[in-house]
Amino acid sequence: MSQPTGRTGVEQTDRTGADQTFRDGQPSYRTTVRNARDGFGHLLGAEWTKLRSVRSSVWCLLATVLLTVLITPLISASSSTNANEAPHFTDQFTFVHQPMAGDGTVVARVSSQLNSQEWARAGLMIKQNTTAGSPYAAIMVTPRHGVRLQANFNTDIPGPDLGAPRWLRLTRSGAVITGSESTDGTTWHPVGTVRVGALAPTAEIGMFVASPPVLRVTKTSGGSSTSLVLSLGAATFDRVTIQPNAPQQLPGWSELMLNGGAGTKGAPPANVPSDGDGPFTAGDGPFTVHGAGDVAGYGIPSFPLGDDDIVVNSLSGVQLGLLAVIALGVLFAAGEYKTGMIRTTFAATPRRRRVLGAKAIVVGVAVFVAGLVASLIAFYVAQPVLRRHGYQPPAYPHPTLADGTVLRAVIGTALFLAVLAVFSLSVGVILKRSARAIALVVGLVLVPQIVASLVPSLGVANWINRLTPTAGLAIQHTRPRFDYAIAPWGGFAVLCGYAGVALVVAIWLVRRRDA
């Protein structure tokens, strides 16, 4: 039975008057807040307010910039090059030649060419003399890059994308050399005209064959090494005619293997079979000529620039900065689950997909801006350091933002960070716990890189590098390199795939699970 103690019941009874005051159908309370809206812009404003009003988020954005920028001089100073100390040209080929005095024309048909290397050359050349490095002009066919007119180790004029069999013609008129090509020897199409200023009155003229060495990459555990392997080109010429403008006695063909320039440091073409050194028999062919090496210099595509991608070197500080981005993305989501604020968020905006969309846009844009600042500063900080370490023209032309690939690398670095932030945010939503989510994303970013560097197979390593979120860093690439596993936009698409899938899963989960 109840104890006779309470007295507050009296007050309670007095309060019941309120029961009669408001009944169904009577006007009820209306909010005094006018013009409340639920537009997506308001949602972006709300999420931005959340982001900027928490110190850890602001610190993460600052840390992204600071880590990226501060590590940049160290990374830039960690490599150096002596590429510019090597000869700036290579002049290594087999030349079947004879002197021609004054102006004239040489015509030949390249009836076949061995596809020994994509840049293998077979064609006609006029050259100051048989000294390596002397001025020249040449028209040639290549297995993969069509007809080219090249001169003086620095000029390259592409012609039609056609190979052997092909008629070629080289015409000298003073210092001006014109190259033409033809399918049938009757209808000629000019490829271009070059000026070879230092050409002597009597120059060597004839057929040449070259085939640049092939780059071979050997993957070892913890690294990879590259070596150049000799490739041997071969081509057959026929219908060879020399028509000097001034009547003269032509001495007949002789064959010579030039070996000069940068190629001297590589494998000497000692094992190139001679097609009978010394004078060739007179006539118009057919001649089969074998040759190794390259006739090229900076400005001619087959001549390798320095190995290093100095834009990547300038921007690789982002590998440290991305840790702050991961923390930011994860905390922006998981932090709400930790405090329970996610309920306030979803109570304020029951349309959860829009909330996640707004969160992704806000964190993505904020990180993009911070990333762009970091990327631009790092790029400019790195350049003088790189120059001091030998990265100079001509082996390493100065990169500028006016160059599309460089601009893509700099802006792409910021894009990479922005998409990584969206990925981290989504993982934060999926896992709800910041520690787990950060560990997972950092692991996904770092572990495959480490594993890839340890596996002794380049193929496996490349596949690993293609499949991790850091494949997105390929967007920093400004030149082809043997160890690049994926194309710039392809790599970025891989990262976007990760972020997209994670975001879709996060939205799906958030809509179906209780907050």
Partner: protein, 315 residues
């Protein structure tokens, strides 16, 4: 349309536990409605389902006739304080309200208005992590009031408040109800609602036990019960029992009498010349009424859940 919270046949299961079991009630405007039940009775779960945070396994929860998830500017329709601790420790109080205001397009100045309403103007620029529990409750109330909504839900708002805070909270609840709003306040202690609630919804183990006004509840609990204080206890008990009353001894000189009105008892005792020092109809406290109620609820509970006696163990 009348402003109400309407819960119809609501069900929610977490794993093997039935948290809310076919719960139905309506909360009307203009009065403070207490939502009472022991810890684990399903109060918070019900409130989360009303706010569309948890999806019911069956039934529906409607606010002003609509599902919460369909509201476009919900902060202007329903204000809720679920968990005062759910604030980011490094975010300033004002920023916490500001992002909420942004999300529903509520004007900025409203943030300062509600901060003033709860007496937090001076703490507006302080970070939530340094707030006492009382300050957090006030910030949570401010957040609930941000959209000036006609429906308000507070989950255990008195929890952790000092006496001054409790007094303030009671006054606020009263004022909000008097303005014609729905005020729905949960508590696991009936005593916390004394002096503020007009109507009660009592649940236990996820089921509705009572949906009654406080006045009716107290009247029912106090019915026919008379407290008698007399030194001649046994004589009095015998005399009253012989006239059909149920008499129970409370202590050495006090008994409670049920079944006879007070004036009849007085006449009987006077007739037998039995002296008494006190004779008063008993007014039960809300707590007692609640105990009675939950005890009854257990006694008359359906037999399909033989172990369902959480209230009985407490009563």
């Amino acid at each position: 349309m009348a402003t109400t919270i309407e819960v119809r046949d609501l069900r929610k299961r977490y794993g093997r536990t039935l948290a809310v079991d076919r719960l139905s009630f309506t909360v009307a405007a203009g009065r403070v409605t207490g939502f009472v039940g022991p810890n684990g009775a399903g109060k918070s779960t019900t409130m989360r389902m009303i706010l569309g945070l948890d999806a019911p396994d069956g039934g529906a929860a409607l606010v002003g006739g609509r599902r919460y998830a369909t509201l476009r500017t919900p902060l202007c329709e329903v204000g809720a304080l679920l968990d005062a601790g759910a604030i980011h420790p490094s975010r300033r109080a004002r920023d916490h309200l500001l992002w909420m205001a942004h999300s529903n397009g509520i004007p900025r100045r409203r943030v300062d208005t509600v901060l003033a309403m709860v007496g937090l103007e001076s703490a507006a620029r302080r970070r939530g992590g340094g707030f006492s529990l009382g300050m957090r409750q006030r910030l949570g109330i401010a957040a609930a009031l941000l959209g000036d909504p006609p429906v308000l839900m507070f989950d255990e708002p008195v929890n952790g408040l000092d006496p001054e805070g409790i007094h303030w909270m009671r006054g606020l609840l009263r004022r909000l109800a008097d303005e014609g709003r729905v005020v729905f306040v949960s508590s696991h202690l009936m005593s916390e609602l004394e002096g503020s609630a007009d109507h009660l919804i009592v649940i236990g183990r996820g089921r509705l036990i009572a949906d009654t006004s406080v006045a009716q509840l107290l009247a029912a609990a106090s019915q026919d019960l008379v407290v008698l204080r007399t030194v001649q206890r046994s004589e009095a008990m015998t005399a009253l029992a012989s006239h059909g009353a149920t008499v129970a001894a409370i202590n050495r000189d006090t008994v409670t009498v049920r079944g006879l009105p007070a004036d009849r008892i007085a006449a009987l005792l006077t007739e037998r010349q039995l002296r008494f020092t006190e004779l008063a109809p008993h007014r039960a406290s809300l707590e007692e009424a609640y105990m009675d109620l939950t005890r009854d609820a257990v006694e008359f509970s359906t037999p399909d859940t033989p172990d369902a006696s959480p209230v009985a163990t407490e009563a």
